[in-house]
Every structure is written in C-alpha cells, then in structure tokens.
C-alpha cells in the first residue's frame, strides 16, 4: 500500500473533524470533531514513523493520546458544568467573551 492512502485518509478525517468543529453547534459534537482531528494527526505520525522506520513518531502518537485523554476529561467537565448552569450545550450561547 502506498503511503499516500494513509495521508489522504488522515486528511479526510482531519477535514471532517474541522468541519464538525466549525459547523456544529452542539458542544459534544464539536468536541468529537476535535478528537477526530487529533486522531487524524496521530495517523499521520504513525504513517511517517512506519515510513522512516523510526519509533519517535509512534512515541509522539502516544503522547497525543495521553494529552487527548486529559483534555477530554477537562473538556467534558466544563461542558457538563456549563450545561448544568445554563441548561444548554450550544456553543453559540457561551459567548460571554465578546466585547
């Protein structure tokens, strides 16, 4: 299999994730989009590690997974707390930072 296939798949996954983050209003779905983008990046890392026969890329992929897990914990906690206080998980409602 050509390495290109992996990269294209990774690009597709990343784009889907990015579109999900930008287009969907629901915080949970947007969050899933973020996860998808992270995993697309992981796939790229692993692909290049394989291609170069170097384990560094795989190690970085593990790091990303760990960071993603931690991020999920904190992110979900924030979303749940916002949902509890405001009764909504819509990203557009949480726009307190606007001037």
């Amino acid at each position: 299999m050509s390495i290109l296939n992996y990269l294209v798949l990774s690009g597709i996954l990343f784009s889907i994730g990015a579109v999900a983050v930008i287009v969907r209003r629901n915080a949970i779905v947007a969050f899933m989009g973020v996860e998808l983008m992270l995993n697309a990046a992981n796939l790229t890392l692993v692909t290049f590690a394989r291609m170069h026969g170097d384990l560094t890329g795989q190690v970085i992929a593990f790091f990303v997974m760990v960071v993603a897990a931690a991020e999920v914990v904190i992110g979900l906690a924030i979303i749940v707390s916002i949902f509890r206080t405001r009764g909504s998980a819509s990203l557009d409602d949480a726009s307190l930072l606007k001037s």
């Binding site: 990015a18 983050v21 930008i22 287009v23 209003r25 990203l91 726009s95 307190l96 930072l97 001037s99």
Partner: protein, 636 residues
C-alpha cells in the same frame, strides 16, 4: 547718603509701597492712600538728594553708574542691570517725583469717595517706580522694563473704573497701541545687538558714530516707532484721547506730565544714533511737526475739557519731538519744554479735575461758563497754566516754546522754512484753542442749570475744591509762572544738561530772532482775540453747531480711528479669522483625523471579537491554511 543708595531707594520705596498695598488689600483701606503719598514723598526727597549730589560735583563728573547685578549673562549677550545718574536722568527724577507727589496729594481728596482709593494709590506708586526705572536705566534692556511697567500702570489706571465698558475698551486700546510702539523698541534692541553687540547705553553710544548709515537709520526708525507709541505721536496717537477715561490725576500725571514724554526722553537719550542718520532725524522732525498741527487742530474742536487738554498734550509733545529731531541744537530745548510743560499741563489737568469736582463730573465745556466767580483758586491757577502754554511773555511756556521755534528756524535749505512756519503757526493755534478752553469754562455766561435759569441738565452748585486739591494746583501754577524764567537765568539749565546733550555753538536762525519773537507774540494775541470774540464776547451755543467740514473732522480726531479701523483693525480681524479657520480645518483636521481613523479601525476590528467559539475556530483554520499555502508557495 551715597548716591548709589539714593538711586536704589528712589525706585525701591514706591515699588515696595505698591506691593504692600496690593498684597494687603482691603486691610490697608484706612491708611493706604497716605502710605502712597509718603512713599512718593520719600522718592521726591531722594530725588533732591541726587540732584544736589550731582550739582556738588564738577560738570565732568556728573555721571554716576550704579551697577545693580548681572542680569542676563547669556553667551555673547550679557546685560547688566544698572542705573545711570546724569543731569538728564536727574532732571526727569525731579519732574516725576515732584509732580508725582503733588498729584498723589491731590488724589487723596479727589478720590475720596471712591471705594477703591487704596488700589488707585497702589497703581500710582507702581507707575512712579516704573517711570523711575525707565529714566534711570543704563541700558535699553532695563529701560524697556520701565517702559513696559509704565505701560502696565497706564493700562490699569485708564481702566481704573473698568465697570464701565467704554473705559475698559479705552484701556485696552491704549495698551494695544502701545504694544505696536514697543515692538519698535524691541526691534531697535535687536538691531543694536546685531550691529553693535550690546544694548548698554555706554557701548551703544560709543559705537554709534561708526555705525553704517543703514544700521543707524534702521535703529533710529525703530526707536522712533517706540517713541511714537508711548508719546502718542502720529501715526500712533489715537489712544491718548480715549485715555482720558482714567481718573483726572492719572491724566495729569501719566498722560500729560511724565509717561507720554518718555518718547522724547528716548529720542534725546539716543541722540547719538539719530545724529548718525540724517534720514531718521528728519523723520523725527516730520513726525513731530505733523503731530504738532494734528493735535492743535483736534484741540480746537473738542468740547470735552479733558480731551481738549489731551489734544493739546499731543501737540506740545509734537513740539518736543520736533526739537529732539533737530539734533544737538534742539535736545536741551526739548527737555526744557518737557519740564515746563510737565508743570503747566499737570496744573491745568488738576484744574480741570477741580472743575469736574465742583460740577458733578461734567466734562462738556458747553455746559460750563462763568465759573471764575465760583472757584477763584482754580480759576487763577488754571489761568497761569493757560498763560504759560500760550507763551505769554515771561511765563514758563514762553521761554521754552520760543526756544524751540527759534531752533526750528535754524538750518539750511527748505527745512527751516517749513518747520519754522509750522511751529509758528501752531503757536497761534495753541493760543486759540487754549483760550477757547479757558473762556468756555471760566468766562462768558453760565450755561449750566443753577436751579432757576431754566437750562437743561442737573442743578449744579459749583464750589471750590478742598485744600488738599488746591495746594498742589497752587504749587504747580507757581512752576508755570516762574520755572521757565528761573531755569533760563544765565542759561543754567542748558549748561546743566550740556554733559548729556553736548555743547553747541549758537546758530543764527534764517530770520532774525526779534522778528520770530515778535511774530510769535502777534500770532498768540491774534489767537487769543479770536477765541475771545467767539467764546467770551458772544454766547456759546449749548448744543454744538454742525460746523465746517474741518470742525466735524476734528471732532472725530481727523478720522484717525476710522483710518486705523479700515487699514489695520478690519484686515487684522480677517487675517485672524482665516488663520483660525486654517488652524481648525488643516492642523486640527489632520490630528483629529488620525485619531478618528484609529478609532474607526478599532471599531471594525472589534466586530470580529464576537465571542463565538466557532467563528474563532473558523478564522484560525483559514489562517493556518493561508500560512501553509504561503509557506508551500514559497517552497515551490
């Protein structure tokens, strides 16, 4: 007492008194006026000390330089503050402090009913101090300090009753017109520094004879402009008539006896510079001659007693200017006339004040008449002043004016004929307008309402003024009577001034002296007779008749205000308006535009901070894509 100490004290004491009166304010209301009188009296005593100190020396030693302190040590320009005591400044010291003290005494009674009498005396003392600095200064820079000081005091005193708008306007007018003259003095100082490198009298006068004629003319003309402003000479004369808005003692002291003669002092003091430039000298004579006639013509038409006297002052200073412009031959005569004029004109102004005092502040001479019966002392003292100014043989004015007329006839070419004739003619006109003033006020039929003659206006009870007012008038009238003759005896005044004015050989006028003297007396008699026929022998109409074109022009000061208005005031207003517009539109526009541009840009950028996470994310994605595209494009 040493002369140095006297010179410092003579200035410091009135200055101190003025400061005290102004700082302590109302607390000094009860005794403030007497403090002013005492300060002025001490100055007068010190002036006598200085005079006798100088008289006690030989003629060559009669110049004492009192160094005070190093004032402006700035590189090439180093100005020291110092006083110069010489016969000329001592003469002025005497005039200023002696007449000043008399007028202080007079003002105690004259201003009795004014709530602000204390402030009035503070200003008077300030004036005395400034005027003394002016005449004592040993450099043009310090002279300028005094020059501005008297300008300030004059402004404050003209506008003393500034609750009346027209008085405040008169003060402002005097101030602004004086500024025009001051500009000339500043330019003169600049030119001196550029050409000679110093503004001290000693250096400037030592270097003046070697000056190129161009520089000498430039400095001379600039000095003349300064002198014109201060001395109300053509073309800067318009302020003097309005300056009569001030209380009468002020008119007597500042606008007759002392401050307005500062221009003559300046010209005489800087005589060496004028001698280096015949053009500037001729200009001084021309200015003097024009003002001489101008003032005389205006004086013939004014019905306001103070304004008529002001026009006469203008005209008499014209005499002095003319004499000062004649060169060494005229300096001493100019100062001589200045001195006698200081006495008789101050005396007449005080007389006018006394008349106003007895007539409920009425100044219109058409509402006077027949007052000689009611105020005998005023009548006699005023009469002596009148005889002095018209040049009645034997009185002060006769000696001094006659000398100037003779000097005007000295010279070659067309000048003696023109200027001599002008002075002669003006002597005749002077006799006419002063007699008119005198007769309209004190003689003829009473034209005021005495309660049962049915004339319009408030009922008047003319009465003689208190002693505090009449005594100064009597002293001044003694001066009008005898000062001229006293100083003429053995030419003592001229030999006294000789160290300053230089020795002059006697020049023969183009017409023999007895003829000139005879013509002067004939013209004087004709003037008096004409005035007698019109203003004493026949009834004076209470409402002024329309009069000829000349009369109407003279009533309006020969349209000098209209001319100033049309040539300077209105174009000036337009210029300033244009500049204001340019300032708001261009300068402010650029600065404000920059500011509002930044605000607008910020306003736009603010729109992007809408708080929506999704739009931030989208922007970020677009940004990343753009950056990537740029990086990759650069690679390829």
């Amino acid at each position: 007492m040493s002369l140095d100490l006297a010179a410092i004290g003579i200035v410091a004491i009135p200055l101190l008194s003025a400061g005290l009166l102004l700082v302590l304010g109302r607390r000094t209301d009860a005794w403030g006026h007497w403090l002013g009188v005492v300060a002025s009296t001490i100055s007068a005593v010190l002036a006598f000390v200085i005079l006798f100190g100088l008289l006690g020396r030989g003629a060559e030693d009669r110049a004492v330089d009192v160094h005070l302190f190093s004032w402006i040590p700035a590189g090439d320009l180093s100005v020291d503050a110092g006083f110069l005591l010489d016969p000329l400044s001592a003469t002025f010291l005497m005039l200023i402090t002696f007449v000043g003290t008399l007028i202080h005494v007079y003002a105690v009674a004259y201003m009795e009913h004014d709530d602000d009498r204390r402030r009035f005396f503070a200003y008077l003392n300030l004036f005395i101090a400034a005027m003394l600095i002016l005449v004592l200064a040993d450099s043009f820079a310090l002279l300028f300090v005094g020059w501005e000081g008297v300008g300030l005091a004059s402004y404050l005193l003209i506008g003393f009753w500034n609750q009346r708008t027209e008085y405040a306007v008169a003060a402002k007018k005097a101030f602004v017109m004086n500024r025009v003259g001051d500009m000339g003095l500043i330019i003169a100082m600049g030119a001196m520094f550029a050409s000679i490198g110093s503004v001290e009298f000693a250096d400037v006068f030592a270097a003046a004879p070697e000056l190129s004629e161009g520089w000498a003319t430039a400095i001379g003309i600039a000095l003349l402009i300064g002198a014109c402003g201060k001395s109300a000479q053509f073309p800067l004369q318009a302020w003097l008539g309005d300056a009569m808005a001030g209380p009468t003692p002020v008119s007597a002291l500042i606008h007759a006896a002392t401050m307005v003669t500062a221009g003559v002092y300046l010209v005489v003091r800087s005589g060496v510079i004028f001698e280096a430039s015949p053009t500037a000298q001729l200009l001084v004579v021309i200015v003097g001659a024009i003002t001489l006639l101008f003032g005389a013509i205006v004086g013939c038409a004014k019905d306001d007693i103070k304004k008529a006297l002001a026009a006469s002052t203008m005209s008499q200073i014209g005499y002095m200017m003319l004499a000062a412009g004649l060169g060494p031959v005229g300096y001493a005569f100019a100062i001589f006339h200045l001195l006698t004029h200081g006495f008789f004109k101050a005396g007449m102004f005080l007389g006018a004040g006394s008349v106003m005092h007895g007539m409920n502040d009425e100044v219109n001479m058409r509402g006077f008449g027949g007052l000689s019966k009611y105020m005998k002392i005023t009548w006699i003292t005023f009469g002596l002043g009148w005889l002095a100014i018209i040049g009645f043989p034997g009185l002060s004015g006769f000696w001094s004016k006659d000398k100037i007329i003779e000097a005007a006839f000295v010279g070659e070419g067309w000048q003696p004929w023109v200027f001599g004739t002008v002075t002669l003619l003006a002597a005749g006109i002077t006799a006419f307008y002063m007699s008119r003033l005198f007769f309209m006020t004190f003689h003829g039929k009473a034209r005021w309402n005495d309660g049962d003659n049915g004339l319009p206006g408030p009922v008047q009870h003319p009465h003689e003024s208190p002693l505090l007012m009449t005594v100064p008038m009597i002293v001044l009238s003694v001066g009008s009577l005898g000062l001229g003759g006293f100083l003429m005896l053995g030419d003592r005044f001229f030999s006294w001034l000789e160290p300053v004015t230089g020795h002059v050989e006697h020049h023969e006028p183009v017409i023999p002296i007895p003829v000139i003297m005879g013509a002067t007396i004939v013209l004087m008699v004709v003037g008096v007779l004409l005035a007698w026929r019109q203003y004493w022998a026949s009834a004076v109409p209470i409402t002024p008749p329309t009069g000829s074109v000349l009369t109407r022009a003279a009533r309006r000061d020969l349209y000098q205000d209209s001319v100033n208005e049309a040539t300077f005031a209105r174009p000036g207003t337009h210029l300033v308006r244009t500049l204001t517009y340019a300032d708001t539109a261009v300068v402010d526009g650029a600065v404000n535009g920059l500011g509002s541009g930044a605000v607008g840009l910020g306003e736009r950028l603010r729109k992007m901070q809408n708080g929506h996470v999704r739009s931030y994310a989208a922007l970020m994605s677009v940004g990343v894509v753009l950056v990537l595209a740029i990086v990759l494009a650069a690679r390829i």
